[in-house]
Amino acid sequence: MFSHTCPIFLHNYIILMAKITFITQDNKNHTVDVQNGLTVMEGAVQNDIPGIDADCGGGMACATCHVYVKDDWFDKLPAKEDGEEDMLDMAFEPKKNSRLSCQIIVSDDLDGLEVNIPSKQS
């Protein structure tokens, strides 16, 4: 049968994705499917979302994947680790709802997450 030859139909190969919306400075919405287990930063980079630099590649060492998380989502995210808050000190215009997108791991719970991208990363 078709399902035997085409692995995407086999249960083991189903890739779970969540929809993540990035809102850029010009108020454009970019909604992309990001595979569970990846970070929101990786989702942005893989989909060429403008405004996420991620210079250090996810090492929580540069604060150039900074996003503002929509208020209703902010409290649903797992809490920040200490190091993240330290790095946010260096981000461009940090706010109460600031996060580093490399520290947010995509899961079913985050399906529909909306984040705003700051006007600059540095």
Binding site: A61, C62, T64, E85, D89, M90, F92, K96, S122
Partner: protein, 339 residues
């Protein structure tokens, strides 16, 4: 004019090991870096963080890795040019003429860019008008602390630089320390000292505040600071200091006629050469199909780029591959005894 077989831009792990490889095969080289110290991202971003994927080194910190690499090139006489940013790379005959921001000049057939994600520059205030006062009454580093004597200085930041300077300048100046949250990430002893000075009224502490605007004509007169609830305070100040750490900027590399895609330089995987003959890119800054941004990849790329340099530096000689375990010539270069 400094003449060399190869000029390495960037003194991070990849740059250091590339220098090792060049010297091993008998070429000389010099290293330029914009930072005032050796080690690149390892030393600037994560000196204390453990790294677990250096081959044959189960665990080491960024600082340990840097020190080990420095030790490895100790047998060689390699000249470092620190606090120098390469601004210009131009072809002149067979050679590249490389110029730094302090007007140091190099002539070399080979330029190896091991520049990480570019050069480290201070992170700046988001407020646009700050530019106007930069290096006049607003600074991101301090050259001469005497200018602050008897003046009011407003320091922004929550790390060691901000705290250390707040403590130091409070001796002879009126100091405001402004930080976006209550927690400071500096050393605990310094944080305690700052709190003590704040209690004594020697430092005015404004936490949960950030800069919202800056006022003045030629010199800063006052700043507005704003908290999360949009409450604004106006503070009179003569000077503003911002300590938000460093950020990597691709900077002048973008103007050297190289094929650049998303802040990385396209290279081949034989010589790690760019679209310009004699200019190579290795480490995090290079890009090719399958590129991994790992330190170990940088080592491999540097080793191959070094061999490619041989051809241009010694056009009349033939490069011969040798092992360090058996080559007498290499052992002589390393200053170790042969068998």
């Amino acid at each position: 004019m400094n003449k060399t077989d190869a000029l390495i831009i960037g003194a991070g792990p990849t740059g250091l090991f590339t220098a090792h490889q060049l010297k091993l095969i008998g070429l000389n080289c010099e290293i330029v870096d914009n930072l005032d110290k050796i080690g690149g991202q390892c030393i600037e971003l994560y000196p204390d963080k453990p790294i677990y994927d250096i081959p044959a080194v189960p665990e080491c910190t960024g600082e340990e890795l840097t020190n080990n690499l420095i030790n490895q090139i100790k047998p060689f006489d390699i000249k470092f040019h620190l606090s120098e940013r390469v601004d210009e790379v131009k072809k002149e005959g067979e050679n590249w003429i490389v110029k730094t921001n302090n007007d140091k000049k190099f002539s070399t057939p080979n330029v190896i860019i091991a520049g990480g994600v570019g050069s480290f520059e201070p992170r700046k205030f988001p407020v646009k008008e700050c530019e106007k006062f930069e290096n006049n009454s607003l600074f991101y580093s301090i050259r001469d602390k005497k200018i602050f004597e008897g003046k009011t200085v407003s320091i922004f930041g929550g790390g060691d630089s901000a705290l250390d300077w707040a403590v130091e300048l409070s001796k002879n100046s009126k100091v405001n320390l402004i930080h976006r949250r209550d927690d400071f990430r500096g050393a605990q002893a310094t944080v305690d000292k700052v709190n003590e000075l704040a209690k004594e009224g020697k430092i005015n502490l404004y936490t949960k505040y950030q800069m919202s605007s800056i006022k003045g004509d030629n010199q800063i007169k006052s700043i507005d600071i704003k908290n999360d609830n949009n409450e604004i305070k106006n503070i009179k100040t003569d000077y503003v200091l911002g300590f938000f750490g460093l950020i990597m900027q691709l900077g002048p590399i973008a103007n050297w006629g190289l094929n650049i895609d998303k802040k990385t330089i396209e290279v081949d995987t034989e010589k790690f050469e760019t679209n310009q003959k004699g200019i190579y890119a290795v480490g995090d800054i290079c890009n090719y199909p399958g590129k991994l941004k790992l330190i170990l990849s940088g080592f491999h790329e540097g080793a191959l780029a070094a061999r490619a340099c041989f051809k241009l530096a010694r056009p009349n000689e033939k490069y011969r591959f040798e092992f360090t375990t058996s080559s007498k010539t290499i052992k002589e270069r390393l200053g170790v005894k042969g068998d």
